[in-house]
Symmetry: C2
Subunit: 345 residues, 2 copies
Amino acid sequence: MTADRDRRRATIHDVARHAGVSITTVSHSLNTKGIVAAATRQRVLDAAAALGYSPNPIARRLRGNRLGVIGLVIRPLDSLETYQPEGVDYFVRFVGAAAVESLDRGFGLMLVRDPTKQNAPAIALGVDGFIVCDPVGNDPVIELLDRSDIPLVTVGRDIERPNFENWLESGGVTDATVVFEHLSAQGAKRIALVTGTDDNAWYADSMQAYAEWILAHPQDAIVYHQDETTGETGGRVVADAMLADARGLPDAVYFLTGRGAAGLQARFQERGLEIPRDLLIVAGSDAEQTRSAVPTITSVDLAPEETARAAVDFLLRRLDDENAVAPPPVQNTLRVRGSTTRPSA
Amino acid sequence: MTADRDRRRATIHDVARHAGVSITTVSHSLNTKGIVAAATRQRVLDAAAALGYSPNPIARRLRGNRLGVIGLVIRPLDSLETYQPEGVDYFVRFVGAAAVESLDRGFGLMLVRDPTKQNAPAIALGVDGFIVCDPVGNDPVIELLDRSDIPLVTVGRDIERPNFENWLESGGVTDATVVFEHLSAQGAKRIALVTGTDDNAWYADSMQAYAEWILAHPQDAIVYHQDETTGETGGRVVADAMLADARGLPDAVYFLTGRGAAGLQARFQERGLEIPRDLLIVAGSDAEQTRSAVPTITSVDLAPEETARAAVDFLLRRLDDENAVAPPPVQNTLRVRGSTTRPSA
DNA sequence: CACGATTAGCAAATCGTTTTGTAAAAAGCT
DNA sequence: AGCTTTTTACAAAACGATTTGCTAATCGTG
C-alpha cells in the first residue's frame, strides 16, 4: 500500500533532464513565459505529463507567488480562553459557506486562532489573505496583518478604526431599527436591549439605533450587557436582573445573542410570565435554540452564508486589485415567530 | 493605516547583521541547535526581539520542516458536483470540532476539496497531514496521498483496502445492531433499511448488520438505497416506493441519513399513517431535521465532535511516530425520541 | 610548550521554484 | 560576405530558512 519505489515527487530538474533542456526552459514552457520554440515546449509538456510533475507550491510561494490559501479568524470565538463554538450557529454556518466558496475558487480555507498569540501556527502569516470576522475595537489582529502587508477584509468594521475601509456590513443600525419597529407594531411600549460585552460594531450599532429609537419614542433606556460566552445561562441571569429591577419589567426585549434570548424566555416562563402575552422577545441572531424554543423566538437572520460568500469574493478581488471596493451590505431578514405573534393578531 | 515604511518583514539576515553574527549562528541560537556561547545567543535573541523577527514558515517548510497545517477532506461533500453542506449536521459539527482541536494544538486546519481533482489548490499536497472523512471504496484520495508520502488518517475505513490501518471507527456494525434491538423491543417485526448510494464503510457495515439481524430474526429483506444528496425529498421518494411495494409496508424503518428520515416521516404522515403508532422510524445520524420534526425522530448520535478530536489527535501522533496506533472507537449513543416511543409504553 | 579535545562561529550547500541577464544560433539585410 | 536584429535556450541569482563541513580559537594536560 505504500509507494512502491521510494521515489519522491518529481521536481523541475527531473522534467528538465527527461526533456533534455534546462530548468529555465521547463519553467518557461509551463508558465508560458519567455520565448520557447513550440516543438521544445511540447517536449517539455510531454515530459512533465509522463513524470506526473506538478510544481511544489511551497517553493513557488517562497519566490513570491501565491499559496492558494486564505486564513479565517473568527474573533468572538477567539477571545474565549477555551474555544467553544457549540451552538454558535452563525459562525458554523459562516465557516461552511466560506469554505465552499473558497474551494470553488481554487483556494483552501484555513481556520486560524488569533495570529497575534504566541502559540499560533506560524503559517498564519504565510497565507495570501485574511478574513477577520467581527473584529473588536482597535483590533490587534488587524494591526498585525496590516503591518505584515497581508491583504485582509473584515466582516463588521473595527469601531476604533474609521479609516479602515475593507469591511463588509454585517447586521447594523438598520437591522435594529427594523426590530424596534416590529416590536412597536406588536404593541410594545417599553423595549429593553441586551448586548454582549465584546467591543464590536454589531453591539455598538445596535446601541446607537436604540438610542435614536428612544429619542423618537420616549421611554426609559433599559440596557443590559451580558457576556456572550455565558449562553443560555446568561439569558437567565438577565431575566432575573430584569425581574429585580425597580423600574419594572419591559414589555419587549431585544436580545442580540440567540442562545441568550432562549435562556431569557425560559427563565421568564419559569417565573410565571407567558410569552408573547406578557412580553415580546426578539433575538438578534438566529440559532437552533431560537428555532426549537416554545414558543419559537422571532430572530434576525443574519444570512451568514451569503455574507461569507461576499467576504471571500471581496478578499479575492482585493488580491488582484488592491483598490477593489467593498460590496453592498448583505440583506438581513427578520424571521417573525411565536415570541412576537400575539394570538389575537 | 498602512505600514509606515515599506519595510518588509525582517529576515534571518537582518537579525544576523543587527547582532553582528552569521545567519548560521542566528539559526542555531533560535533553535538551540549547534553550540553557541550564552552571551552570543542572548545577543541574537535580543536582536530578533528588537526586529520583531519570526522565521518565514514557507522557507522553513521548503527545507523539510513542518508547515503547521493539516488538511481535511470530507468525501461525501466532495462527490457532489456542487458542494452543499447546508443541513448536513454531522459534517458541520465535525469541522468545527476538528478546527478547535487543531488550533489548540498549534496547527491550522485547512479545508480542501478532493485533491485529485485538477482545480484543487496546489497547496493541498504541501500540508503536514490529512484527515479524510468517510472515504469511498478504493478511494483515489488515499491513493494520491499515500503515493505522495503524506501521512493520513481516515474516519471510517476504505472498504476495498483491507490493509490500510490508519482509520478510526465511525458508526458501524454495533450501532446498527443496537438500533435493530431497540426497534424489536418496541414491537417491530418487519424492519426496513435505507442507505445512501455512496460506497462507504458506514453503509456497508449497516447492510451487513442488517443481513445478520435478518438471519437471526427471519423476515423479508427490505432494503432501499437513496442518493444521500436528495435530502428530505429523497426520504419522501422512499416513502412512496414503500407504499407502492407489493410486499406491503414495513413496521419500522432505519434510515441512515437524518434528513431522509425526516422526509420519510413527513410523507407517511401526509398519506395518513401515524408515527409511531403505525410505523417506527430511526435515523442513523442526528440532524436538526430529526430534532425538530413532529414527533421528534429517534436518532443515532454519531458524536462528531468527539470523533473529530480523536482524528486530529491520531494524525498528530502519527506525525511524530509513524507507527502510532488508532484509538478505540468513539462511543455512539441512541437518542430515543418520539418516533419510536409508543404512548402506551 | 606542544598536543589533542573541546568550543565558537562561519561559509557554503540545500530545498524547488521563478526571473534576470547573457550568449549562441538563426535569420534578415545590404 | 559582413553586419544587425531576432529567436532560442541556458547559467546563475534570487527567495529565506536549516544543516553540513570546516577553520580558528580556547582549554586542559603532561
